[in-house]
């Protein structure tokens, strides 16, 4: 199995609900808590597994806003695991999920240096590195109904911009969608082979922005009459 996410950049509305749901679930999950620093102060900051950035593609009038959620890509060639000196970072053979053993981490930050996607964040209160677990404490929970055995971010997305599944299975919904929509991984030139795939924004016709043409005599009389009417 190679579990991961598909994120549809065409559909994402940038509401940050996935990040909030992630924080809520994982604050009490296996690597919780996710500490906040000055949550109500002047400089609010804290640990998040999922962050959404917003970009603009191309220039006016062809510009398009692209909302861009990012979490751990659970790479096939995860350098963060290779460089870890303590063995705290590991990649599970059975499903490819990359995790950090909180009891072994010494907080040297080296794995975060090796990660090009900014997926790892140090929790200052525990002194350990934390990252997306793909909700490993949820997707295998037999107590939950089958349809809820998915990561929190996927379940909560109101636009259905996120999918979860097994990329090793060529007939899974995620594999099919990636094939049909031309999904891609981020920064392929670094050869980390990220598992998560992004679906590109669709090309849409440009909406004309020229001023409306002036009407004829009939249109002018209509406008004049409209101005006379007291509403």
């Amino acid at each position: 199995m190679r579990l991961g996410l598909v994120i549809d950049l065409d559909v994402c509305v940038g509401c940050h609900a996935c990040a909030i749901a992630c924080k809520e679930w994982n604050a009490s999950g296996t690597t919780g808590p996710l500490s906040d620093y000055q949550p109500y102060g002047a400089e609010p900051s804290g640990v998040w597994f999922n962050r959404i950035r917003h970009y603009e593609m191309d220039t006016y009038p062809n510009n398009k806003t692209v909302n861009f959620p990012m979490s751990c890509n659970h790479c096939e060639d995860a350098e963060c695991v290779t460089v870890c000196p303590t063995g705290a970072s590991y990649k599970r053979a059975e499903d490819g999920i990359v995790l950090v053993d909180q009891d072994k981490c010494m907080g040297c930050n080296y794995c975060s240096w090796a990660c090009p996607y900014g997926a790892r964040e140090l929790d200052r209160s525990s002194g350990t590195m934390k990252k997306c677990t793909l909700c490993v404490d949820r997707i295998y929970d037999m107590e939950l109904p089958v349809e809820e055995r998915q990561p929190s971010c996927v379940l909560t997305c109101p636009a259905h911009a996120r999918m979860f599944g097994d990329f090793d299975d060529p007939d899974s919904a995620v594999s099919r969608t990636v094939r049909e929509r031309g999904g891609f991984g981020l920064m392929p030139e670094l050869n980390y082979n990220p598992t998560n795939q992004y679906l590109p924004p669709r090309s849409k016709p440009v909406i004309p922005v020229e001023a409306h043409p002036r009407g004829g005599l009939k249109e002018s009389i209509k406008q004049f009459a409209n101005k006379l009417v007291r509403r």
Binding site: L9, H16, Q38, E43, P44, S45, V47, R51, I52, R53, H54, Y55, E56, M57, D58, T59, N62, T65, V66, F68, M70, E79, T82, V83, C84, P85, T86, G87, A88, D103, K104, C105, M106, G107, C108, N109, Y110, S112, W113, A114, C115, P116, Y117, G118, E121, L122, R124, S126, G127, T128, F184, L186, M187, P188, E189, L190, N191, Y198, P200, P201
Partner: protein
């Protein structure tokens, strides 16, 4: 990259310590300038080991959870950070065997074999320190073989200046020590110049387009999505103005190479005596520290692409 002072102190101090120990062995084998006395070799060796130990201790100060630091020796098969720790710790007993064989007048083969192995291990350890940075594909300014070469050259340059001070204090013939220092300093200066030249052009690295996969058109950041800073901006957001970096490069070459070089001439001409050798050591090590600070300050991690950088 955020320059952490504990790491800067660690790499400069341990580099100088490993350099001093290896060159002390060479000075002992070839009896350079008449050769050091037994006690002088012991004091020099212990000083080198003290530099290494202080460096290693200081490196644990940047850990957020140092109680697990002992686990860092476990992944030497894959991690350069782990290898560095293992080699640095292996160095200690071997160095002690060498010093003991000097102290107890052990047979020459034991003295020279243990000294040689210690020198090789010191070389491997400094190489590993450089590889910690050089193996990262995420930082263009670090991902080059010039990085371990620079670490070795600068460590040995600092070590050779310390050894020269020892030779001056011990009243040996300083000529071979001056020659050794001058040679290592020039190699280090040339390597550093090549490094600065190399990182000045961006090359074919990741861009904001490959980072977002939106390769069809120009991409620019609208919003980072966070109110204040995050771990990522604190750790990777550090940026140095181009002018300031240029100025610091001049400082590196003046303090790290030119002034120590001038002091070598003074020592050679019997001017200044011990003071000149001390100035050479101090400026050389301060220059190396500035170099190390700049090494971190100039490094741009690719995660900055997600925060709006067009390329790194």
């Amino acid at each position: 990259m955020h320059p952490a002072f504990s790491v800067i102190f660690f790499t400069v101090a341990s580099g100088a310590g490993f350099g001093l120990f290896s060159l002390l062995f060479i000075a002992d084998v070839f009896k350079l300038g008449g050769g050091f006395e037994r006690e002088q070799l012991i004091i020099g060796g212990l000083m080198a080991m003290a530099l290494v130990v202080f460096g290693l201790l200081s490196s644990t100060f940047h850990l957020a959870n140092p109680k697990n630091a002992w686990r860092a020796f476990s992944r030497f098969r894959t991690s350069w950070l782990s290898r560095e720790g293992v080699f640095a710790v292996l160095f200690m007993p071997l160095a002690l065997v060498y010093l003991a064989s000097i102290w107890f007048d052990a047979p020459l083969w034991l003295r020279e074999t243990s000294g040689f192995l210690t020198a090789v291990l010191a070389w491997i350890t400094v190489f590993s320190t450089g590889m910690i940075y050089a193996c990262l594909k995420t930082i263009r300014q670090w991902n080059t073989p010039l990085v371990p070469a620079n670490y070795l050259a600068l460590g040995y340059a600092s070590g050779s200046l310390l050894l020269l001070l020892g030779a001056v204090v011990s009243g040996l013939d300083t000529t071979p020590y001056i020659a050794m220092s001058a040679l290592i300093l020039s190699i280090a200066a040339v390597l550093k110049a090549i490094y600065y030249f190399w990182i000045s052009s961006p090359g074919l690295g990741p861009t904001i387009n490959t980072a977002t996969g939106l390769t069809r058109a120009k991409v620019k950041l609208l919003d980072t999505g966070h109110t204040h800073g995050t771990f990522l901006t604190q750790e990777f957001g550090f940026q140095i103005a181009r002018q300031k970096a240029g100025l610091l490069k001049i400082v590196v070459f003046v303090l790290g190479f030119a002034l120590p070089g001038l002091m070598l001439v003074w020592v050679f001409n019997q001017q200044g005596g011990q003071a000149a050798a001390i100035v050479a050591v101090v400026t050389g090590i301060v220059g190396a520290a500035v170099e190390r600070w700049l090494f971190f300050a100039e490094a741009r991690h690719v995660v900055n692409l997600y925060h709006g950088a067009q390329r790194c």
